[in-house]
Amino acid sequence: MPGLEDLYREIILDHHRNPRNRGELAPPASHAVGHNPLCGDEIDVYLDVTDGVVSDVKVGGQGCSISQSSASMMSQAVKGKPVDEVRALVRRFKGMMSIPDEDGNPIEPDPSVKLGDLEALQGVVKFPVRIKCATLAWNTLLEALEQR
């Protein structure tokens, strides 16, 4: 059994205690709500995109330490990034979570996409039930991107 220290890295607990970019954005910002039907967690992602760049992002909702810190780290990572880089990052992150691509094949890591702090979430893979927690914010982000 993998140890809890693999899951609850200090940086994760920090984001959990002090979540970044909490709040809402008024329309015309896009807004998506993600549910984890297994545990009832809900995440709101608000997104402003200006000239193809994520100019602002806010996160709302409730969830466990993993889903909350993943959302917080996600918000930091995507803010100011061009939309196509954001998409590449989502893909890279999902690959790290061993989520397969559309065709069910493993996602090869793209070395040009840097994960930075997000690597702290790597340990989640050892706790398969928590993968859905970690990816919730990211799927909701994708939905918010679709809505534009």
Partner: protein
């Protein structure tokens, strides 16, 4: 209250999974409200049946098939006696309680409900007793009314007559899977009948833990699942009043449920075959029969007494140790509650809590427990839930408490 009635150590010894050690320590399984573990006698009954008597039922004339049919139909009689139904043809085997409730909503509902008709539910229902009715809202335009709750998680019956006024059906749980609340089933059935409504009881959490008597209740339908009462997955029960079942259209169509099929139509078989389309869960029904034998051998009254004792002890232990840091949802009166506890602990998210408890092999569920409307009412997304069954002993409560202490070390804020 003493615990003289149940020899838990001897009971626990009959559950192979509870002998399992993970990371060098035994499992403390506190998730029986979700699904229960299986005693050796049930596992053996299924294996032996597959090894010696497996055959199609109700279809073939040879001796092996008739042995298998006897085993299957014998289990029906066991279920009938276990819930004190009048006749065994009132007992329908489904795949789970969810199918049982869908069967009622679909077959009874479609035949008896028109636009504007009212069905009354309670605010603490499981999704299985909500979504099938929502589907009838969408399809037929029926209306739902909800019995509200008191602060300690019991049904608030003050407005029940108004809610039931003009209603066609009242469908409610006999025991909440979130709060542990046991509802006054007999009184609720009577209230339904007074209003001219039928009474549908979700017995998922009640039947495994208490003496059940559908005739004393005066209920019209009862749904429950084998897997929560020491039996296998893959089989549920719908009991229904014969006259209602007889009058209902069928649910699933196919083999076994027909009297005749022609190119231009079909007629249905008699009860209970009418509602058992296709090859039934033969092995599983046999397993359920063995589970009933097992539970009967211990005695449902003793099981209930043990669980009331466990509930009282859990409340005492946890509040003593953690005071205001733990919030146990539901009533503290063990007369109206079973040994299923949702709780909040020191602001730690239930998912994290269950992860940390798991480190000590304590299995509790974290989530919405398929009762999202109730969760919203409680103002939470999720709770942690510890549920005790006949194989849990007092020591398990201490292990839980110790493990909770450990959680604080990580999320110490």
């Amino acid at each position: 209250m003493t615990n003289a009635q149940l020899d838990v150590a001897a009971i626990k010894a009959q559950f192979p999974l509870l002998q399992r050690e993970l990371n060098g320590a035994p499992l403390v399984y506190l998730d029986s409200a979700n699904t229960s573990q299986k005693p050796q006698s049930v596992i053996d009954a299924m294996s032996t049946f597959m090894e010696q008597s497996y055959a199609p039922i109700n279809r073939s004339a040879y001796q092996l098939a008739s042995e298998a049919t006897d085993a299957y139909e014998g289990a029906r009689t066991k279920v009938q006696r276990f819930i004190n139904a009048r006749r065994d043809r009132e007992v329908v085997f489904t795949k789970n309680a969810t199918e049982s409730l869908n069967l009622v909503a679909h077959s009874w509902g479609r035949a008896n409900l028109r636009e504007g008709d009212v069905v009354v539910l309670t605010q603490m229902e499981h999704h299985a007793n909500i979504v099938p009715w929502h589907m009838l809202v969408q399809e037929k335009g029926i209306q739902l009314r909800w019995v509200p709750l008191t602060a300690d998680g019991q049904l608030d019956l003050t407005t029940l007559p108004q809610l039931l006024d003009g209603a066609k059906a009242f469908s409610f749980t006999a025991m909440s899977n979130v709060l542990g609340t046991i509802t006054p089933v007999q009184q609720l059935c009577a209230a339904a009948h007074d209003a001219g409504a039928i009474a549908i009881v979700d017995g998922c959490q009640y039947v495994p833990h208490n003496v059940t008597d559908v005739q004393a209740w005066g209920a019209d339908f009862l749904a429950f699942s084998s897997h929560k009462m020491c039996g296998p997955s893959g089989v549920g029960v719908l009991w229904g009043r014969e006259s209602l079942l007889d009058a209902m259209p069928p649910f699933l169509g196919g083999g076994n449920m027909i009297a005749d099929v022609r190119f231009d139509g079909f007629t249905t078989a008699e009860l209970p075959a009418k509602f058992e389309a296709g090859t039934p869960p033969i092995i599983e029904v046999v397993g359920l029969g063995a589970a009933i034998d097992f539970l009967d051998g211990i005695g449902m009254a003793s099981i209930r007494a043990h669980e009331a004792h466990m509930a009282a002890l859990a409340i005492a232990t946890l509040t003593e140790r953690f005071g205001d840091d733990i919030q146990l949802h539901g009533s503290t009166d063990t007369e109206v509650r079973g040994a299923t506890f949702s709780f909040a602990f020191r602001g730690i998210h239930p998912h994290d809590l269950s992860q940390v408890l798991d480190q000590r092999n304590v299995c509790v569920r974290a989530g919405h427990h398929c009762a999202k409307p109730l969760m919203r009412l409680m103002g939470v997304n999720a709770t942690a839930r510890a549920s005790f069954y006949l194989y849990n002993d007092e020591h398990d409560i201490d292990v839980l408490a110790d493990a909770l202490d450990g959680a604080t070390d990580i999320f110490g804020f």
